[in-house]
């Protein structure tokens, strides 16, 4: 099969384009139409009517957020049984499959002799995590989920990116405003964070 070539004509400017003025007026017409329409609806919003019609596409970020889809992979959490104990049985599946090797599990004896193991500590280093979701896929116990909708994962040091078991079991612990208003992966608020005060001083 031969390759068909389609030769595109370069658009040439006619007289009206060359003298700029009609084209400039057209452009100014478009932008000023947007301007007056948006201004009109901003004014109506200020009066408290027609709020359903958007005048701006802006989402005022920390106050209001874009909705997160349910299937998007966000910060991890460990699920619990009905009695509140962690579902994790320390089978090491997630630690094994993790391509970033950011999961560290310390396994230990369960007090109940009929249950083989339990996780004494479960640590995820978010600084290494690539959010592939393999750990969720691999888990035979449905013990790890990535559905907290916490997207703001930032800290002032690498150590602070490491989440321990308590934080994973209670994902919204210490996060300002609960599930809808998250800002910091750590239990401490940003003001009480010694790292923050040190940086602010320097």
């Amino acid at each position: 099969m031969t390759i068909k070539t389609k030769i595109l004509e370069r658009p040439t400017m006619g007289f009206l384009q060359k003298i700029y003025l009609p084209e400039i007026l057209r452009g100014v017409w478009i932008t000023s139409r947007h301007f007056w329409k948006n201004l009109f609806f901003h004014f109506l919003h200020w009066l408290g009517v027609f709020r359903a019609i958007q005048a701006a596409v802006t989402i005022m970020y920390p106050e209001s957020r874009r909705p997160v889809t349910p299937r998007s992979r966000t910060r991890h959490r460990l699920t619990k049984r009905m009695d509140g104990s962690p579902r994790c049985v320390a089978c090491m599946m997630c630690e094994t499959i993790c391509p970033a090797r950011c999961i560290y599990i310390v396994a230990g004896e369960h007090p109940d002799p009929t249950i083989e193991k339990q996780a004494l500590n479960f640590t995820i280093d978010l600084g290494k995590c690539v959010y592939c979701g393999f750990c969720v896929e691999a888990c035979p116990e449905d013990a790890i989920h990535m559905d907290t909708k916490i997207l703001e994962i930032a800290a002032y040091s690498r150590e602070r990116m490491v989440l321990d078991m308590n934080e994973l079991l209670n994902p919204h612990l210490g996060v300002r405003g609960g599930p809808e208003h998250t800002s910091c992966p750590r239990i401490e608020g940003i003001r009480g964070n010694p790292e923050y005060t040190r940086l602010a001083k320097s």
């Binding site: 400039i24 452009g27 100014v28 932008t31 948006n38 701006a56 596409v57």
Partner: protein, 370 residues
């Protein structure tokens, strides 16, 4: 009389400066609204105390509109380090922004913003300096603005800044000639170099119903003036001298409030050009059909008004026209992309200048046979 002049001068100065400061806000907000955004609104002042609730109630709309951003800008500018390049000329480096700002500001003295205010036996001309060659004075001051630009590049001891200033100077000179040539038509038609006289002459009616404004008698001159005037203000689409973030311009070596003064000069020049466009082409303070004694409509209807209402209407009309032109310049600035330098020069020398010369010839011919 001298006290009144000083009062007028201070009032005009304060108004122009505050409007220029507001221009930074207009620039942010207008661009935002044009592009379906909200715009800067994070510079807020809220008092933490409980008794301050009424004050907070007053501050809230100001916060929401982002009106504290000009103040935040000013604070930022003053707080920054004022850096003078080590081998630059200290004196000239400091002088350059001052020259720019001063020559942009003194022009406003010659702009008439109203006819006359009569209080008892006192007749106050609503113009700071009634100069009978105001057009020449304005253009002289506008041309002096190039000095600030040249000096800024020259004293910075930076080749890039120097080249930027040379570029800026050649652009400003090229477009100043066109600007001067477009005014000639207006001066010929109204037969005066006095701006107040030009505005008064625009109060006459053409064919008994059309106000004799510059835009109606010199339509081509109006568009040429707008095109050339935008180049004078060094803003997009002619912002090659500064080029915001992409091009190294003449104030590369400037920081802190000295940079702020160059920035401010741009806005003041924009207002200056808006004033000039309103004065020369949109009848300045003329309200259509408004005479000294009130409205006299072409259909023989007459509405008599007291003199101070007439003066007030005239000043309001002038301010409205100036604000309209500022809005138009801002819209153009956020609509068009930048010219390339050769396109800029070609447009100036091969496009606008010959057309403005032809405009003079046609105007002269028509005036001769009329």
């Amino acid at each position: 009389m001298i006290l009144i002049t000083i009062f007028l001068a201070v009032a005009v100065f304060a108004l122009v400066l505050s409007f220029a400061a507001l221009h930074t806000w207009i620039e942010r907000k207008q661009s935002a609204v044009m592009q379906d955004r909200i715009g800067a609104n994070r510079a807020t002042i809220t008092l933490p105390w409980k008794w301050a609730a009424p004050i907070n109630w007053v501050l809230r709309p100001v916060n929401q509109l982002g009106l504290f951003h000009p103040i935040a800008d000013a604070i930022k500018m003053f707080m920054k380090e004022d850096y003078i390049p080590p081998y630059g000329d200290r004196f000239l480096h400091t002088l350059a922004p001052l020259l720019s700002l001063t020559f942009a500001l003194v022009g406003f003295a010659a702009i008439p913003f109203g006819d006359e205010l009569v209080i008892g036996s006192l007749r106050i001309p609503l113009q700071v300096a009634p100069i009978n060659v105001a057009v020449l004075y304005l253009f002289a001051m506008a041309s002096m603005g190039v000095y600030g630009v040249i000096l800024a590049g020259f004293s910075s001891n930076s080749n890039y800044a120097f080249l930027g200033s040379v570029r800026a100077a050649s652009q400003m000179l090229a477009y100043e000639i066109t600007l001067g040539a477009t005014i000639v038509g207006i001066v010929m038609i109204y037969g005066s170099l006095d701006l107040q006289e030009i505005v008064r002459a625009q109060g006459k009616l053409l064919f008994g119903w059309l106000p004799c404004w510059g835009i109606f008698v010199q339509p081509i001159g109006f568009f040429l003036f707008l095109a050339a005037a935008l180049a004078e203000t060094k803003r997009i689409p002619y912002d090659l001298p500064e080029g915001e973030s992409e091009i190294v311009g003449y104030f590369t070596e400037y920081s802190s409030m000295k940079f702020g003064m160059f920035f401010f000069t741009d806005f003041i020049e924009t207002i200056m050009i808006a004033c000039l466009a309103a004065t020369l082409f949109l009848g300045g303070w003329q309200v259509p059909y408004l005479g000294a004694a009130g409205f006299e409509f072409p259909w023989q209807a007459v509405v008599a008004l007291p003199q101070f209402v007439v003066a007030l209407l005239q000043v309001a009309a002038f301010v409205f026209k100036v604000v309209f032109f500022c809005w138009l310049f801002m819209t153009v600035r956020w609509t068009l992309p930048r010219f390339r330098y050769d396109q800029l020069m070609a447009l100036g020398w091969k496009g606008l200048f010959p057309v403005s010369l032809a405009n003079i010839v046609v105007t002269a011919t028509v005036l001769m046979f009329l």
